[in-house]
């Protein structure tokens, strides 16, 4: 459980920090305040879970094919220059 001496930010304020939070672009007090808020607020908690889920679906698109087949073409281009 978080220290309860954080001020409880408004949902409006929390909303502005959702992307920073899921992208790990939030630190210290700002992060603590946000985490404290989503512990208390179901709506903002759901919003975070939703954005995280969507982000994970995008992450799963990460292409795995090796570029070995392109290597030759690239080597040729460089050699021609």
């Amino acid at each position: 459980m978080k220290k309860s001496n954080h001020k409880n930010i408004s949902c409006e304020e929390a909303l502005k920090r959702v992307f920073d939070y899921i992208d790990d672009h939030i630190q210290n007090t700002s992060r603590d305040e946000f985490e404290y808020h989503i512990e208390l607020c179901r709506h903002c908690f759901d919003r975070v879970e939703f954005e995280k889920l969507l982000k994970s679906r995008l992450q799963a698109l990460r292409y795995k094919r090796s570029s070995e087949w392109l290597r030759e073409r690239v080597e040729d281009i460089i050699a021609e220059f």
């Binding site: 992307f19 759901d46 919003r47 995008l58 094919r65 073409r73 080597e75 281009i77 220059f81």
Partner: protein, 202 residues
């Protein structure tokens, strides 16, 4: 100007280890094998032309990514195959951003059911790729770097040579566009029903 054989070797030694990264990024932008290969090839040609202007060889990765992005944007213009580039960054309004969550969630369901998460789980990989390919290239680029490639705002800012604040707002706008496309697809496929600003599960 032709590169010396020493320069060719330097370029090759630095480019080849990054080929997987370039290839992946190009693929995420094009979603088409032929276009991907062309984009990487064109990027390498430009890198050869500009190689002498690269002062710090340690920064070749963001440099190449930047070339790839510029090449992609101009290919988009030429081929008109991908969405055309429109900048509305300056007059963007945070309130006008689209949120799939806001459209789909049903707060009155209380502790059971998460229609918004169910919807995201129901979407096929193809739906997401399709939606991604339909958003403006500049925004697609940042969303791909952030969400698919998992880069930080700072890394993206280095690649695009724009302030972190701009990266942040571009990601937010890109996601808003993506979510609107996903919403439209979901309505089209009958996964959700459009009704005023709410929806009914089918």
């Amino acid at each position: 100007m032709k590169l010396t054989s020493e320069e060719q070797r330097q370029l090759k030694d630095r480019v080849l280890p990054l080929l997987d990264d370039l290839h992946r990024l190009a693929y995420h932008l094009c979603h088409d094998e032929n276009d991907t290969e062309d984009l990487v090839a064109e990027t390498i040609k430009k890198a050869c032309e500009k190689f002498r202007t690269l002062r710090d060889h340690g920064k070749i990765k963001p440099w190449l990514f930047r070339i790839l992005r510029n090449t992609f944007v101009s290919l988009c213009r030429e081929r008109k195959k991908y969405a055309t580039i429109k900048y509305q960054e300056d007059n963007e309004n945070e309130d006008e951003r689209f949120s799939l969550f806001a459209e789909v969630s049903q707060p009155f369901l209380l502790w059971w059911g998460n229609p918004e998460r169910e919807l995201v789980n129901k979407l096929l990989e193809e739906d997401i790729k399709q939606a991604l390919s339909e958003i403006q290239p500049e925004f697609r680029f940042v969303v791909v770097l952030c969400d698919v490639e998992g880069l930080s705002y700072r890394e993206i800012s280095n690649i695009l040579d724009i302030p972190i604040g701009t990266v942040r707002s571009r990601i937010a706008r890109g996601r808003s566009m993506l979510q609107r496309k996903l919403y439209d697809h979901a309505v089209e496929k009958g996964l959700i029903r459009k009704r005023d600003r709410h929806y009914e599960k089918i």
